[in-house]
Amino acid sequence: MRRLHLVPYNTTINFMGFRYITFMIAAVIAVGSLGGLLTRGLNYGVDFRGGFILEVRMPDTPHVPDLRDRLSGLKIGEVAIQQFGTERDLIIKVERQEGNEDAQENAIEKIKTTLGAGVDYRKIDTVGPKVGSELVRNGLKAVAFALAAMLIYIALRFEWQFAICAILALGHDCIAILGLFSLFPFEFNETAIIAILITAGYSINDTIVIFDRIRENITKYKKLTLPELINKSLNETLSRTTLTATTTLLALLALYFFGGKVISTFSLPIIIGILIGSFSSICLAAPLLSYLRLSRYASAEKKTV
């Protein structure tokens, strides 16, 4: 039986040769994302700012502009309505009301009266402004600690140079994902942090597999120059890198297309994140190594000269 070969086994792609192009691409992604973050900020949801979200299923297809007018007439501040899934499903977002609990309840009651009878309230979230920001801040803190711990492990198991390159690639991924959340209408909330985590975790995994091969080849091929060695290692692991990325993406695509609206919005940033993570492992983390003198390599070089 013929088997599927995503990548022929003896590729000799000169990754190091076009590293300037890929560095440029990475720089554009990073600068663009940073620019987006600085100018537009993150699209914090109700989770962060405080307010409430109603997810409703109307009895009939509603006329959204009309509904928007009627809800805006309630004087409960800015009301955002969007269709979500089917035409009958709406998400209504309202900013936090001045005053205490009762003020929030009143606003929800007003909306319920306006929407009328026969509405299925599928979800009602009310969040105080403090809670969400705390969640996100604590989440980001946990992520930062986790990444730091992983990098320490890399520095111990490999050389510090590897950890530096991993940091740079990982930083690139995180900025890129954050940029994604700033440039596209994805809401930044706690689920978004999990998306960042998955991306970062995947990317570091990918990077380690490649680094591991470089470490092995350093002692195996003492006559190769560092760029040649990195190239060889990248080509040797390319098949695995693509295969694992493919299986992961297959699972994510299943989530995206069949997982329902909530899971679907959650998986899209991860899909992009996996692509970015694979790119940064191959085109950023590994080639960057050539700029740092690896000590073991240096010693091997000395012997051969």
Binding site: H5, G139, F145, T191, I194, R240
Partner: protein, 532 residues
């Protein structure tokens, strides 16, 4: 070379078998599940967003309590300073300075500093006192504050639990979060207004003396109290009497006994046969209540719940043993209501609902169905892909994948983990990433074969060489997961558990299970080439 010891074989098969056994309860209906032995009843809990229900996050207002604590010291401070002839002005409880409540006053004579410190220390040893330019500032020291806060939170949780139980909600989850939060999860509830009212009723109970120097003010129902300044140290509070009449009584601000001291309240009958409510205090409360009644015999006191007087009886006797009885002009129902009100208990601190999430049952059901469909499709896609890439070896990886999922479900069930929406996504994602270890091994085996090594030796070498990579990459992720669990909260923690479990299981399936299958398979074949 390719030898797997017998004990190892049985261990691998045993783990897989246990996985099936512990994952199976998830497939049973609730009624069937009840008939199973206890150790087989562990299933994965569905998170609120999946089963429908309400999630409330409450904030315990610790600052108010600290302020109140100091306010209660004011009278004693006043008396003590006067007794020791220490001149002072402006004695008050200040909350403005950097948000920490403090008791402050200014000494007329700065030389009295030491005496003032002594006086305050003798009132309350838990005070931290600073004196600057004759201004004395006393705050609760950190240790006292921490201890008190801890007990306040514990007690609040207890009261909330009692109230939620009272509302009849099934399987509520009530737990502490952070330093001053309580999480309440109410499965199956799609309108939490009732429970919120019950919990949020900032029922704070105090026993205070009625200021008899001024008469009560009667008002007709619905009209506000005419402006009347209360005597110093007192305030007017509303009392709705049994007959519906509303009056305002001047009540001393000083709390004689706080509601926490009340252990029990029951409707009963007095010795004259009238409906009454019996009160039972804890030991320190009993002592205070005895003092209070001894000094104020035949005087009126007030039981205050949420700034409203719920009862204003008169001390008929000295109450020695902490067992008091309120009797008077009420019928049996009113006595019952009052007892319930007293019993449902005082919250030691005001609670505020700062987050509320309610998911209706229809959305939860949709999410579960979509999640299942997506997981199955992900599994099929990955399985087919693996088969296309590695044929027979791909099938081995797929068998490992099936056990991966089974063991994941078994592990989550044993931990009684809560499955959330990102959790479902996590499981589907595990499917994609679990094959990674196998991919690494297979790619290595292929490399060995290309290098001209014989099939069996290639398998052996493939496993050996992929080992460091697999260990390094998985250990890194595992370290990340542990740190996330340690520092994360809520969904992030849940994600960390799924991630860690997924890693350990995929290590087992790739390094043990597929290896076993391949070994058993290879022994029966005359391997000239590998179907890879």
């Amino acid at each position: 070379m390719l030898v797997i010891p017998r004990w190892k074989l049985w261990m691998i098969l045993g783990i897989c078998g246990l996985g099936i056994v512990f994952a199976a309860p998830n497939l049973l209906s609730p009624t069937r599940l009840e008939k199973m032995p206890g150790w087989l009843q562990n299933t994965i809990n569905l998170g609120l967003e999946l089963r429908g229900g309400s999630h409330l996050q409450l904030e315990v207002d610790l600052k108010t309590v600290a302020k109140e604590y100091l306010t209660n010291l004011l009278d004693e401070t006043r008396a003590s300073l006067r007794k020791q002839q220490i001149g002072y002005t402006g004695l008050l409880v200040d909350t403005k300075a950097n948000g920490i409540p403090s008791l402050t006053f200014v000494l007329r004579n700065p030389d009295d500093a030491d005496k003032a410190t002594q006086a305050l220390k003798s009132i309350d040893n838990g005070l931290a006192i600073t004196i600057q330019d004759a201004k004395v500032t006393a705050v609760m020291n950190q240790q006292t504050l921490d201890q008190r806060n801890q007990s306040i939170i514990d007690q609040s949780i207890e009261v909330v639990r009692r109230r939620v139980d009272e509302s009849g909600t099934k399987e509520p989850i009530i737990q502490r979060q952070g330093t001053d939060r309580i999480i309440v999860q109410l499965p199956g509830l799609d309108d939490p207004a009732e429970v919120k009212k019950l919990i949020g009723r900032t029922a704070k109970m105090t026993f205070r003396l009625v200021d008899s120097s001024v008469p009560p003010i009667m008002v007709s129902v619905g009209s506000p109290m005419p402006y009347t300044p209360a005597p110093l140290g007192s305030e007017y509070l509303e009392e709705t009497r049994h007959d519906g009449q509303v009056r305002y009584l001047a009540v001393k601000k000083q709390v004689m006994v706080s509601g926490e001291a009340l252990i029990d309240a029951q409707a009963t009958f007095s010795h004259t046969g009238q409906p009454a409510v019996s009160l039972k205090f804890n030991s320190s409360g009993a002592r205070k209540f005895a003092d209070m009644s001894a000094q104020n015999i035949k005087k009126q006191f007030a039981i205050i719940l949420d700034d409203k007087i719920i009862s204003a009886p008169v001390f008929q006797d000295i109450i020695h043993d902490g067992n008091g009885q309120i009797s008077g002009s009420f019928n049996v129902k009113e006595a019952n209501d009052l007892a319930l009100l007293l019993r449902a208990g005082a919250l030691p601190a005001p609670l505020k609902v700062i987050e509320e999430r309610t998911v209706g049952p229809s959305l939860g059901a949709d999410s579960i169905r979509d999640g299942q469909v997506a997981t199955v499709i992900a599994f099929i896609l990955v399985s087919v892909f693996m088969f296309l890439c590695y044929s027979t070896f791909g099938v081995f990886a797929d068998i490992a994948l099936i056990f991966n999922l089974i063991l994941l479900f078994a592990g989550l069930s044993l931990l009684q983990a809560t499955l959330t929406l990102p959790g479902i996504a996590g499981i589907a994602l595990t499917i994609g990433m679990a094959v990674d270890a196998n991919v690494l091994i297979y790619e290595r085996i292929k490399e060995e074969i290309r290098a001209g090594i014989r099939p069996l030796a290639a398998i052996e070498a493939g496993y050996r060489r992929a080992m460091t990579t697999i260990i390094d990459s998985n250990l890194t992720t595992l370290i990340g997961a542990v740190v996330l669990f340690e520092f994360g909260t809520g969904p992030i923690r849940g994600f960390a558990v799924t991630l860690a479990l997924g890693i350990l299981i995929s290590l087992f399936t790739a390094l043990s299970l597929t290896r076993l299958i391949i070994t058993l398979w290879a022994k029966r074949q005359k391997l000239l080439t590998l179907p890879l």
